[in-house]
């Protein structure tokens, strides 16, 4: 616990003349849940995509440290190495499950894919692991051969989570995981995420515009506005004693969070 898992310094991401992220720096430690909040267009999702290896930043460094290893720059390590880490050490749960699942492959196939990518070839073992993880995210293992399209939105979200966790990653990136779900399904997903974080000692970066979700799930919060981090700190401190005008506006605009 002496060094972070992820170290980000001076990250910029520009789309043409638009600066989506500006001078973002952060450390993420094992077992820590970091929330990124801010309104639509504040650069939250762009930042998450940069961190997760999907989108190369315009400037700055993102360094990941594999177990006991040195820090490695995610975008200077070479394609093969990055692909390998993306399939084994971290994963991203997309806001739209269609971006994170293979819709033409069965639920079990979706979960097994990352195991195969990590070198597992034994069909029986892959299937057994898939069953175990479906069960763990509260999906009925009897539906292992169903296509994701036959699942509800909340179930697809959980299938994405199972698909990533099966490879025992150290970081999970979540993009608005409760967006678009019914309130009762949201609560169930929150409970599940909390237990997984605790039991697996995962580090998590979660992008959300829901401050209630942020309060219940995260240890630490970064508030983004127009690509910049305007305030950060302990989650309850930022929510109960926001210092920046924009954080105060966000907190005061919420109904009962």
């Amino acid at each position: 616990m002496t060094e972070p898992l992820l170290r980000v310094r001076g990250l910029d991401k520009n789309f043409g003349r638009v600066a989506a992220c500006r001078a973002v720096s952060l450390d993420l430690w094992p077992g820590e849940v970091l929330g990124i909040v801010g309104e639509s267009g504040s650069g939250k999702t762009t930042l998450l995509r940069c961190l997760s290896g999907e989108l190369e930043p315009s400037a700055g460094t993102i360094e990941f440290r594999a177990a006991e290893g040195p820090f490695e720059d995610v975008y200077r390590m070479g394609e093969a190495r990055r692909r390998f880490l993306m399939r084994t050490q971290w994963g991203i749960v997309h806001q739209n499950p269609r971006d994170g699942l293979r819709m033409r492959v069965s639920a079990g196939g979706n979960v097994g894919e990352r195991l195969m990518a990590a070198g597992e070839r034994h069909y029986g073992r892959i299937r057994a692991e898939a069953v175990a993880w479906l069960d763990r995210v509260e999906l009925d293992p009897a539906r292992i051969d169903d296509l994701p399209a036959l699942f509800s939105g909340g179930m697809q979200q959980r299938l994405q989570i199972a698909r990533i966790l099966v490879s025992r990653p150290r970081i999970v990136y979540l993009d608005e995981p409760t967006g678009g779900l019914d309130v009762s399904i949201q609560a169930r997903l929150l409970d599940l995420l909390r237990r997984l974080v605790r039991d697996l000692a995962l580090a998590v970066v979660i992008v959300t515009h829901d401050l209630g979700v942020a309060r219940l799930l995260t240890d630490r919060l970064m508030v983004m506005r127009r690509g910049e981090v305007v305030e950060e700190g302990l989650t309850d401190q930022v929510l109960d004693d926001p210092h920046h005008a924009y954080s105060q506006l966000l907190v005061s605009s919420v109904i009962g969070a």
Binding site: L190, D191, R194, R215, L216, Q237
Partner: protein, 231 residues
């Protein structure tokens, strides 16, 4: 540092940017020492800064200036300067806090809400379960409710679950923000007994106690905050 808590020249104000930058000064130059094993009651009118002091110690409010040293084992941590993860560690190891409102993940049963606080502080699952059961019993929460989420519970029941969560990990320093508000006589007595037992095992307590009887029962010393000192 021998004392449990040493507060030195603490200033805390709130700048309301949405109200034209209005500044509310709540604490100004507050210095305060609480010895180990002592129970200090904070008293004063509404708005005098009682809860603000507790929240500053817990790291929930960020002071403008000053030092706020909390003794954790052999070291002293200045909450005013500590990084978020140090504060989280301090909370787990050292600071128990009972807030005025229960805020929890929906759908989670009462017993688990209480257990998780003990587990966060390092207790194994079975130990945590036993401790949670014991404290819920003491707080007179009927067994039939333990498996239910507290969303539909009465105000008094929710408050007692909050108390259970704050006390179950038996941290050496307890911050109690009106732990007996909304409680009837029997339940108030149950809370008072738990606080007294915490003192017997050596815990330091800082609390806001609405109820004079409760205050007389548990406090060794009363600090009266008035506007002269606080504003």
């Amino acid at each position: 540092m021998a004392a449990a808590i040493e507060i030195e020249s603490l200033d805390k104000s709130f700048t309301l940017h949405l109200r034209g930058g209005t500044e509310l000064r709540v604490l100004s130059g507050l210095s305060l020492t609480v010895e180990r094993g002592e129970c200090l009651a904070l008293q004063g009118a509404s708005g005098a800064g009682k809860s603000t002091i507790l929240r500053c110690i817990y790291g929930n409010y960020r002071p403008d200036r000053g030092h706020l040293c909390v003794r954790a084992g052999d070291e002293a941590v200045d909450v005013a300067e500590a990084a978020p993860r140090e504060i989280l560690r301090l909370r787990r190891s050292t600071l128990g806090y009972v807030s005025q409102f229960l805020r929890v993940v929906p759908r989670v049963p009462v017993i688990e809400l209480v257990m998780e606080r003990a587990q966060e502080s390092g207790a194994e699952e079975d130990v945590a379960r036993a401790r949670a059961a014991a404290i819920l019993e003491r707080l007179r929460i009927p067994r039939t409710l333990w498996g239910l989420p507290p969303a539909t519970f009465s105000g008094g029941e929710q408050q007692r679950i909050n108390v259970a969560r704050g006390l179950v990990a038996e941290q050496p320093i307890l911050l109690l923000d009106e732990p007996t508000a909304a409680l009837d006589y029997e339940n108030r007595k149950a809370v008072v007994d738990l606080v007294r037992e915490a003192k017997v095992r050596g815990a330091t307590v800082i609390g806001v106690f609405h109820d004079r009887e409760v205050r007389d029962d548990v406090a060794d010393r009363v600090l009266v905050l008035d506007k002269a000192e606080a504003a």
